[in-house]
């Protein structure tokens, strides 16, 4: 019999336990982390529940700009006054990881109840997500929004209370409305009112192009106390496109009358190529030359090296009061104002336009710049939501006239609902619903011409080559390579026929399996889609190709020009009218 130490009996279980831990440390560590995570998630989700709340709804978005989270918190509070049982919690996710986050949450079945749509995944993937993981909202957007009661919008279908008729929320591929938009966006110019006054003596920024340029020149000629010159316009690779898009490209609108062969009111990249190839239009077209002359005049007011700078660098220059003007979207307006608060007074203005009698541009600027009213900041309801009726009700609250007005007033954005008043700050951002638009899609026919254009355009922007040299290098390349790229674009369109047939087979089956009024409605939809996607799809292309094959027609009557035959008919009619009523 061996002698035992008195404490040996007590130590044995301890040793055994320690031995077990040593042997299975990795496994136990994983188990502990799992338990901790589960507990943390549970506590995190519970923490958002205020007392009395029975339903928790989570709303996810990527808007980390100033004001958005505060606005949601405030609206959640307002909503709780009406529905004490519902608590709203935000999941604010950074843009950079939004796509990954969205994918993992949806696939894991742990997604937030309401999710902002439109970032992080390609469109085709987004379509898949919308159909698998989100609830169709069509019946609800066709019914009145109860939160509009007592307003002029009472009784109207919800979608008709939107300024854009909820156009962007309808997903044609799925034949459903799937998202609820909550704001509109616009782009305008911000300016440092104090600096403008100090450097130019002007209280307001000039809206007329020449006066604006003169103000820029005056600013550029001045130096600060350290001898550094001021920059009239803070720009960057991000901002330059805004100036081009709102001021220079609209000058090209006149090309519609020359090469909009299918008369759909816009110039397609295929139409423009055929126009170039057949001599109907070219880089010597007055409006096209005007676009680049104006662009040269504007980029001369940007800081040196702007094409190599990012958005933040331009904003920094403006915030540091080294520049007077900066273009910005409503999404940045709140942050920019926050930076200026207490430091300098900020003004907001529309992009300057040339006067009708401007000797250089007046003849080409036919009107204000058209801005399509499109609502964004769109939210869908996840199928995994346990209380979809409550989520829908909250979105109705935010998408009502009063709710939308309040939400956007806090953020500093434009309301998406008709009649919702706009805060004075963003009034200047309200879109122009009538006007001209760019008609020079010379950079998007195919891969090679697009890259070549980008290279040459970048050199033009920084004044390394002039318009003539840019054209001399690009035009022959475009005319030669464009033929193959146009053919490839047509082939790509044909390749998508199988996808369309697949889609139509699904729509047809829905019609076959429906009955009564629903069947009638679905068959109409099927026929409309079949007509658009299969029967008429390639007809325009065939006509365009025919025009291309016919060769040069530099003096041909443009699609919006009166032919001698039409003029003769009008003359004939007027003569006949005079005979009837002398």
């Amino acid at each position: 019999m061996s002698a035992r130490h008195p404490t040996a009996g007590a130590r044995r279980p301890l040793d055994a336990a320690l031995g077990f831990v040593r042997r299975h440390f990795a496994l136990l560590f994983v188990l502990a982390v799992f338990l901790w995570s589960a507990l943390a998630i549970l506590l995190y989700r519970q923490a958002g529940m205020p007392p009395g709340a029975k339903i928790q709804l989570r709303i996810a978005h990527w808007q980390l700009e100033g004001g958005v989270r505060q606005a949601f918190d405030r609206m959640a509070e307002e909503y709780r006054k009406l529905h004490p049982e519902v608590a709203i919690v935000q999941d604010a996710i950074p843009e950079g990881v939004y796509g990954t986050w969205l994918t993992t949450q949806l696939m894991g079945g742990t997604a937030s109840d309401m999710i902002e749509i439109g970032l992080g995944v390609p469109y085709n993937v987004q379509l898949g997500y919308l159909s698998r993981y989100f609830l169709p909202l069509t019946p609800y957007v066709n019914a009145p929004n109860p939160y509009n009661r007592g307003t002029p919008l009472a009784g109207l279908p919800w979608r008709k209370t939107y300024k854009d008729g909820m156009r962007n929320s309808y997903v044609e591929e799925l034949q459903q409305y799937l998202t609820v938009p909550l704001a509109q966006f616009g782009i305008r110019i911000f300016y440092n009112r104090d600096l403008l006054r100090r450097l130019t003596g002007l209280d307001e920024a000039p809206r007329e192009y020449r006066a604006f340029l003169r103000a820029c020149e005056t600013i550029r000629a001045q130096r600060d106390e350290n001898g550094r010159p001021y920059t009239p316009i803070a720009s960057s690779a991000y901002h330059a496109g805004m100036w081009d898009g709102f001021m220079c490209q609209p000058l090209t609108y006149g090309a519609v009358r020359r090469v909009d062969f299918n008369r759909d009111g816009a110039v397609g990249n295929d139409e423009l190529y055929v126009g170039f190839k057949t001599g109907r239009i070219g880089f010597d077209f007055g409006p096209y030359q005007a676009r680049f002359r104006m662009l040269r005049q504007l980029t001369a007011q940007f800081q040196t090296g702007f094409t190599g700078l990012g958005r933040d660098e331009a904003v920094f220059l403006f915030a540091q009061q080294r520049a007077v003007f900066i273009s910005t979207g409503t999404w940045d307006a709140g942050s920019l104002l926050e930076q200026a608060r207490g430091v300098f007074d900020v003004g907001i203005m529309d992009f300057p336009a040339p006067a009708a009698d401007d000797p250089e541009f007046g003849a080409f600027m036919e009107g204000p710049v058209y801005e399509r009213p499109a609502a964004g900041f769109r939210f869908g309801i996840a199928r995994s939501c346990k209380h979809p009726e409550a989520a829908l009700d909250f979105l109705r609250f935010l998408g009502s006239q009063r709710g939308n007005q309040e939400l956007n007033a806090i953020i500093g954005w434009i309301p998406a609902i008709e009649g919702a008043s706009v805060s004075p700050l963003v009034r200047a951002f309200e879109p122009h619903l009538e006007g001209v638009f760019g008609a020079m899609p010379v950079d998007s026919l195919g891969g090679e011409t697009s890259i070549r254009w980008q290279q040459l355009f970048a050199l033009f922007q920084v004044n390394q080559i002039d318009y003539e040299r840019m054209v001399a290098q690009y035009e022959p390349f475009y005319l030669e390579r464009g033929a193959e790229e146009l053919a490839e674009a047509i082939r790509n369109r044909r390749r998508s026929v199988a996808r369309d047939e697949q889609f139509l087979a699904g729509v047809r089956e829905l019609a076959m399996s429906a009955s009564g009024a629903e069947a009638a409605s679905r068959w109409i939809k099927y026929r409309q889609l079949t007509t658009g996607r299969l029967l008429a799809r390639h007809l325009g292309t065939a006509l365009l190709k025919k025009r291309l094959d016919e060769g040069r027609a530099a003096n041909a009557v443009g699609p919006y020009e009166f032919s001698p035959d039409v003029i003769a008919r009008v003359r004939e009619r007027i003569r006949a009218q005079r005979k009837e009523r002398p």
Binding site: R263, Y370, Q528, L539, R573, I574
Partner: protein
């Protein structure tokens, strides 16, 4: 002692995992349910799952029954249109099996159309030869001249002719469309037929007929009150521009430009429409001045 308990605990966790991971035996799916699920999966792009559902339904349904035919049709359509992994030979075999089982069935008509459409699918983006397409559509429309599938086959046949247009083919298509419009006064495809006829007229330079076809296409267009996305702005625009620039009928042009402006005030073409109204006034004023 702890080691034993620990191992027992781990064993229990692992066993629990196994048990929870085991799939419960599911009751066999009813054919109708499986077919519905198959189409749902098809629309979601889950073609493997769709095929499984259709195969389940085909196996469970009595041979030649409506469910069996529906399952065959679903399976054939999936093999035909799934991308990637399509199997046209298998699809054709299944469509023909369906037709052989019940040649007068509704789905037989759609199968004939599908067989013809298979001949129209571009290969590597290139248009397939015209004649086999025309013949295949002819087979479908001769068998079902007044069935929606037969009518669709007819329109597809004319669209195929217009895809590679020359004057002879275009005249053939236009004559065929005129006959169709005469013999099918109740067809819901009339608007599409008028649209194709209008395209023929564009190729042949028949301006008045083109405008008339556009007007008829609009008048016979089906409108679905349940569909909120109906947009007629393009049709108004098309009629107005044809009337103005092809026919010189300024009164009609004005009427349709004004409709566009009134009904779609935020549409991109509104500014252009207003410009055109002004241009027509100016041209008329100029001619009045010139006329003695």
């Amino acid at each position: 002692m702890f080691a034993h308990w620990g191992l027992a605990l781990l064993g229990a966790i692992v066993l629990g995992g196994f048990v929870s991971g085991c799939r419960r035996a599911r009751p066999p799916m009813e054919p109708a349910v499986a077919i519905r699920a198959g189409w749902e999966q098809f629309r979601l792009g889950e073609f493997g799952q769709a095929r499984k559902n259709f195969e389940t339904a085909a196996a469970a349904a009595p041979q030649g029954s409506p469910e069996h035919l529906a399952a065959l049709y679903g399976l054939a359509t999936t093999w035909n249109l799934q991308r990637p992994g399509e199997d046209p030979a298998q699809a054709e075999r299944l469509y023909r099996e369906l037709i052989a089982r019940d040649a007068t069935n509704d789905l037989a008509a759609w199968s004939w159309l599908a067989l013809a459409r298979m001949k129209s699918l571009p290969v590597a983006g290139e248009t397939p030869p015209l004649e086999p397409q025309v013949q295949a559509y002819q087979e479908a429309l001769e068998r079902f001249p007044f069935h929606p599938a037969g009518e669709e086959a007819f329109l597809c046949q004319q669209a195929a002719r217009l895809d590679q247009p020359d004057e002879t083919r275009t005249r053939e298509a236009l004559n065929a469309l005129k006959t169709f419009l005469r013999t099918h006064p109740q067809s819901p495809w009339r608007s599409a037929a008028y649209a194709l006829a209008g395209h023929c007229c564009a190729i042949l330079g028949l301006k008045e007929e083109r405008l008339e076809a556009a007007l008829q296409a609009w008048k016979t267009a089906e409108t679905d009150p349940a569909d909120p996305s109906q947009d007629l702005s393009w049709i108004y625009w098309q009629i107005a521009t044809l009337a103005e620039f092809e026919v010189g009928d300024f009164d009609m042009a004005r009427e349709y430009y004004r409709k566009l402006i009134a009904e779609y005030p935020t549409e991109q073409r509104v500014f252009l429409a207003k410009q055109e109204l002004k241009r027509m006034d100016e041209l008329e004023a100029q001619i009045r001045e010139e006329e003695p």
